[in-house]
């Protein structure tokens, strides 16, 4: 093209003007291609790629490639997102997604059913505007979401809903809903059964014990029958103890909330328990006492007494006459602590986590011989739970064990006056 312009210029004698016109034409031509390229980019979906020739074709091909890759990824993400939502929709649990201010962004069919949500109409509405139960509002606003919230719902028939808030992303939350009516009912039935069964067993047992006592006191009794009768009385007493403990446990379970309680003089309580141990016909040689006499524990005195008595009783039973028991009560920054240490046979490490289960035996022979009910530590655990306290068990086999109760600081107060 430039050659043609040069020739024309030489012929007409106007070389610079001819060259300038040629360059201008060139630029205009390229510019028109640029416009066509731009038009195609804007309306890509309506027309195929333009044939522009030269380097332009490479650019067009490159754009097409990028575009295709982008569309492929987009489709993949859309499919993936749809599959995820379909999968969540099929979950047997209700799922509600919430944004940072608690507005509903999405929910599945089960959640719609459980909460009585409408369709799309409810997207964007704050969940606490629809689920207005004060317990839920406090739970949603509160910081502790480690455990689900149980709500009683249903008008005529009783229904229970478990709600669990799980934070994710930046301030978003996932609300997991489950209908736990059946589980709650079974749990209630179990508790009621244990309470009723123990209660019903007690009356016949009282009759049996009564007759055994009368017969044993009978002078005309054949002396050969004395040992079996004594054994029967011992077993009847043990059965009464088990039933008594079962009743205590079911009473503790029925009262779910934590106790407020009054100040308890733990030092005096431990001193009394120590005297009771020393009054036994067979007792460990040494029972030491180390207490803070000026600190009081806030709690239910009867319950705390039964927990400490169980721990001391265990220690006394498993410690030989040559052994030692140490009772301690002290207060520090973390709260109040009460420990019972013995020099008994100790507990195998594998058994420690299961120790507070009902009727759990470290080995079948040992505790039956000592006549425990198998419920003592379960009672201790329940009492401590109701006081917000924990039980720590440390033990070395053949050396002894230490049971420590840790009470939170808010349960400890100084004695009024000089104690």
């Amino acid at each position: 093209m430039l050659g043609v312009a040069l020739a024309i210029g030489l012929i007409s004698g106007q070389v610079p003007i001819a060259l300038l016109l040629a360059v201008l034409a060139c630029v205009a031509w390229q510019f028109s291609k640029l416009l066509r390229f731009d038009y195609w980019l804007r309306h890509r979906s309506r027309s195929g790629p333009p044939a522009l020739g030269g380097a332009w074709d490479d650019v067009v091909a490159q754009v097409l490639r990028i575009h295709r890759r982008k569309r492929y990824h987009k489709e993949r993400f859309v499919t993936l997102a749809r599959e995820l939502r379909d999968a969540t929709a099929a979950l047997p649990d209700g799922v509600v997604l919430l944004d940072a201010r608690g507005g509903i962004t999405w929910f599945n069919r089960m959640a719609q059913q459980l909460l009585g949500l409408r369709g799309r109409q409810d997207v964007g509405v704050r969940i606490d505007n629809l689920l207005r139960r004060p317990e839920f509002g406090a739970y949603l606003a509160g910081g502790d979401h480690s455990r689900p919230l149980l709500l009683r719902t249903g008008e005529a028939t009783e229904a229970w809903l478990s709600l669990h808030v799980l934070p994710y992303g930046e301030g978003q939350r996932l609300l997991l809903l489950r209908d736990v009516t059946r589980e709650t009912r079974i749990e209630t039935m179990r508790k009621d059964f244990v309470a009723n069964a123990s209660h019903e067993l007690r009356s016949p047992l009282t009759v049996i014990t009564g007759y055994l006592e009368t017969i044993a006191d009978d002078i005309a009794l054949d002396p050969a029958l004395a040992p079996p009768l004594a054994e029967m009385r011992r077993q009847a007493e043990r059965m009464a103890a088990i039933i008594g403990d079962l009743l205590v446990l079911s009473r503790l379970e029925a009262k779910e909330e934590q106790v407020d309680g009054r100040p308890i003089d733990v030092a005096a309580m431990l001193a009394q328990l120590r005297n009771e141990v020393l009054a036994r016909p067979q007792h460990p040689a040494e029972v030491s006492l180390m207490v803070d006499p000026n600190d009081r524990l806030l709690g239910d005195e009867l319950e705390i007494h039964s927990a400490f008595a169980n721990l001391v009783d265990n220690a006394a039973k498993y410690t030989p006459a040559s052994g030692r028991i140490a009772l301690r009560w002290w207060v520090d920054r973390d709260g109040g602590h009460c420990s019972v240490t013995d020099t008994g046979p100790g507990i195998p490490a594998a058994a420690i986590p299961r120790l507070t289960e009902r009727f759990y035996r470290v080995d079948a022979g040992r505790s039956r011989a000592t006549g425990g009910s198998g419920l003592g530590l379960a009672i201790v655990k329940h009492v401590l739970q109701r006081h917000g306290a924990t039980l720590e068990i440390a033990s070395v086999e053949d050396r002894g064990s230490t049971f420590t109760c840790h009470f939170p600081a808010h349960r400890v107060v100084a004695a009024a006056g000089n104690g």
Partner: protein, 248 residues
Amino acid sequence: MIETMESSARSQHISSRFDEDLESVRARLLRMGGLVEEQLRRSLAALADADRALAGDVVRHDGEVNRMEVEIDGECLRILATRAPAAVDLRLIVAIIKAITDLERIGDEARKIAHIALRLAALEHPVDRYRELRHLGRLVERMVHEALDAFARLDVEAALQVPQDDLQVDEEYESIQRQCMTFMMEDPRQVRRMLDVTWAARALERVGDHAKNIAEYVVYMVHGQDIRHTRLEEIEARLRSRSGGERP
């Protein structure tokens, strides 16, 4: 040019904070509604189960409802004074100011029912656990729930359903009254108990009226139509003509 952009950004910022204020005061109204619903539910449970502890609990919590009313009222006045809202925003604030009064009254009725439950718990508990009152209670509870749901969703159709339910509540109330009168004539020793049952039914009937009011504020808020003291058919006709026959 730059200046106007900046000022429009600022006004947008202000209006979004304004929206937040409105949103938060509405959420507080609904939280108060939740508390009132709970009070009503618990007072009815105390009545049905002769649960004195629960009844005492309801009486103690009434102060909380009143406190919330005062708080929300103050917040609404602050918004009116500082933001001077217009049109739909103004109607929202007005509706909230009216609704909290009704909610507070529902709370008062719940407290009354709890007092009655305390008195009735001292008497022998009937085998049917006051079936008629429980039935009326459920109807009324549902009305309050639906009125508040309509408030949360700005759902006019659901709100219009509430006055319909009120007709049924009135019928139930009258039938309880008649029944109580019959019992009183049959056995004068029952007069005390029956008077209390009548009072409880009366309280529930009042709760239904307040729920109806709240539902009417929803219609006012969304359409700017005052439908109080208007017959139901007329309301529907009016709303239908407004929406230009779009609705079937």
